[in-house]
């Protein structure tokens, strides 16, 4: 019996050992560090994962409360040995099951393993603690994931908070039928809080319709629900929106974007009031500018019209004065002539000489009047442009000039100047007016060169990209360049009575060329001849002649 019981005990013992061996084999295979200590704290078993995590085997000498030091367990992130009073193993030996997640194991090779540690007491039949089992895992992977997540979250916050646009995340609030009944604020950025005049605390956790009931009648809620339902993003600009902000009803305008995000939406919005104000200001300024420009234009137009009118009045005044002077002048001229013709016998020599002077001066005045009328006429008449054969025109003017010269201007001393007309480039202008230009320039050239030995007048032309230039050159008495600027003024005469003329001829030339959009100039030297030039712009004729 005893032998039986002994055998049974031995078998029992063997069974127990076998169970223990089996349990250890199980524990050996668990991918969690398992560390079992006896009630006195002496290490009893460590599975391979525990050995791997600790970096060392079971230390027979180690016992509480020096376990932390023996196994180099520290408060995570520091070199401080893990305090015994917080140790879950020591708590387990005291009969408590606890877990910690703030320890790290420093291995002999210097690597540090962050660990989550759980310990529990194993009690005997009498309820006393026989063993303490400690399970621990390497949480570095989890910690890395947490860190990465935190980094992502920080980036997200930084990005969203730096926005000047409002940003909010909403989760859908669904009714019993699964339809979206509202949206709950999950997140809102600082810019949004400023625009909404609500703090984050007053917003997050609340719902859209609760805070902004105006979004339903404005159609925004419907649009958001559609985004969440269909996944189609929403883009709306210049949305007029009215609601209560900070206790006051305010009309505002927003650009809004919304996209679906899991079971909810992400919304960004921008207050466009400032942009609108800027646009309105810009539009106002543009209108103002336009008005000012129009006013200026109108003023210029009105001034120009005034100028044109007063110019016309002046010219017409000049014209009628000159015109009205003719009748009394003719009478003076006529009566003094009649006196000489019919009553000469009653006058002495001096009286007759005086009467002849009256005739000469009235003759000169009549010439002046004719020239003034011609000058006024250039301003009054329309310029009718046609293509002009300048060579033919000039030769015809020269032919007309000869008898005039023979009668009046030809000085007794010498013969005619030779007039040489080279083949001239054609131009576009008013033939009658340009003829007058040639007549005045050529008669001047002849007048001031006749009497000189080998007097010669030459007429040439040159063509540039935009002008045809004509020169009338003579080798006559010339003029002082100091007076070149005065030459084309009315009544300016650089020579005295030895040369006939009223001083209007070049003024007429200048006015005619000016009316053609051209220019005139002169070069000369005293007793060194003169060259008068005029340039006509190259252009298309209105009609062909």
């Amino acid at each position: 019996m005893a032998a039986d019981s002994d055998r049974a005990a031995v078998r029992e013992q063997a069974n127990l050992q076998s169970v223990e061996q089996t349990a250890f084999r199980f524990l050996d295979a668990v991918p969690v560090g398992i560390f079992i200590t006896a009630a006195d704290g002496q290490p009893y078993y460590a599975n391979p994962e525990a050995v791997r995590l600790l970096g060392r085997g079971v230390l027979p000498s180690a016992s509480p409360p020096d376990l932390s030091e023996s196994y180099q367990v520290t408060v995570r992130g520091t070199d401080i040995p893990y305090p015994a009073e917080r140790s879950s193993l020591i708590a387990a030996l005291a009969g408590h099951t606890t877990a910690t997640d703030d320890a790290a194991i420093r291995r002999p090779d210097g690597t540090v393993v962050p660990a989550e540690i759980w310990s529990a007491p194993l009690t005997g039949p009498d309820g006393s603690v026989e063993f303490a089992i400690t399970a621990f895992v390497d949480v570095s992977g989890r910690l890395h994931a947490e860190e990465a997540l935190q980094a992502v979250q920080e980036q997200f916050h930084a990005s969203v908070e730096v926005l000047s646009d409002g940003f909010a995340l909403f989760s859908a609030v669904r009714d019993a039928g699964g339809r979206i009944a509202d949206f709950r604020y999950e997140y809102i950025n600082e810019a949004a809080c400023r625009m909404d005049l609500r703090t984050r605390e007053e917003t997050v956790g609340h719902t859209l319709i609760e805070l902004f009931p105006g979004c339903v009648p404005a159609g925004l809620f419907g649009a958001y629900a559609e985004v969440a339902g269909t996944g189609e993003p929403l883009v709306r600009e210049d949305v007029d929106y009215e609601d209560v902000y900070g206790g006051r009803r305010v009309a505002r305008a927003f650009d809004i974007r919304a996209v679906k995000l899991s079971d909810g939406i992400m919304v960004t919005w921008r207050d466009v009031a400032e942009r609108r104000q800027a646009q309105e200001l810009l539009a106002r300024q543009a209108a103002e500018l336009e008005r000012a420009a129009a006013e200026l234009e109108e003023r210029v137009r009105s001034r120009t019209a005034d100028l044109v009118r007063s110019n016309q009045e002046l010219e017409s005044f000049g014209y009628s004065v000159a015109h009205d002077l003719r009748t009394p002048l003719r009478a003076i001229q006529g009566y003094s002539q009649i006196l000489l013709d019919e009553h000469a016998g009653q006058l002495d020599e001096d009286g007759q000489a005086l009467l002849r002077d009256v005739g000469r001066y009235t003759g000169r005045m009549s010439e002046l009047i004719d020239d003034l009328l011609a000058l006024a006429d250039v301003g009054r008449r329309d310029v009718e442009c046609a293509r002009i054969n300048m060579t033919a025109l000039t030769e015809s003017v020269v032919a007309d000039l000869r008898p005039t010269l023979a009668d009046g201007w030809r000085p007794a001393v010498d013969g005619w100047p030779a007039i040489v007309v080279s083949g001239l480039a054609g131009a576009v202008g008013d033939p009658a007016l340009i003829r007058q230009v040639w007549a005045n320039l050529l008669s001047n050239a002849v007048k001031f060169s006749a009497g000189q030995p080998f007097a010669e007048v030459s007429v040439t032309s040159e063509t540039t990209a935009d002008e045809v230039i004509y020169h009338v050159r003579d080798n006559g008495v010339g003029f002082d360049m100091a007076h070149a600027g005065e030459l084309f003024g009315t009544f300016h005469r650089l020579h005295g009575a030895e040369f006939a003329g009223t001083g209007i001829g070049l003024a007429i030339v200048s006015r005619i060329v000016g009316r053609h959009g051209g220019r005139v100039w002169a070069e000369g030297h005293v007793n060194g001849g003169a060259c008068f030039s005029f340039a006509l712009p190259v252009r298309q004729p209105v009609s062909e002649v």
Binding site: R326, T327, R330, A331, Q333, G334, Q337, I338, G363, D370
Partner: protein, 156 residues
């Protein structure tokens, strides 16, 4: 003064001079006198008077209306009724359709020339400013119309 210097016996007026400027009228008459045409000049100073003369009205009521001049020298710028209106009324009057009317004016404006001819002027002469030319022009004009020009006998 009109006709006061002529020594020939006064007959029916053969030239009607319509001119408001006394000096021009005088110089005109003197020029015509040199060609012995002055004796038959009647000078009136405005358009209304000219029309009265031609129709034997007003101060000319005693005149024989059938006794028409052979030439009218007509200025354009005239008081009361201007030269164009005188022309228009002359050409509107069947009795006067054949009456030679020479416009004698200081205007050389194209518009005045065109209008004068459109209204039936027989000639248009611009008064030269220079007296010698003026004298010459008046003499030639008088001689041409009074001696060379033929008019139908019925218009007289």
């Amino acid at each position: 003064m009109p006709g006061s210097h002529d020594t020939e016996p006064a007959g029916p007026a053969e030239i009607l001079l319509v001119e408001d400027e006394p000096s021009d009228a005088d110089l005109c008459q003197r020029a015509l006198a040199r060609k012995h045409l002055a004796s038959r000049i009647t000078w009136v100073k405005d358009g209304a008077d000219a029309l009265d003369f031609l129709s034997a009205r007003g101060q000319w009521a005693g005149r024989d209306a059938a006794d028409l001049p052979r030439l009218v020298l007509l200025d354009l710028k005239l008081p009361r009724v201007n030269g164009f209106e005188v022309l228009r009324q002359i050409r509107a009057d069947l009795r006067l359709t054949g009456l030679p009317v020479v416009v004698l004016t200081s205007s050389a404006q194209e518009g005045d020339i065109i209008e004068s001819y459109q209204l039936g002027a027989n000639s248009y002469i611009t008064k030269p400013v220079d007296f010698a030319s003026f004298q010459h022009t008046i003499e030639e004009t008088g001689l041409y119309w009074m001696t060379l020009n033929q008019v139908p006998q019925t218009s007289r």
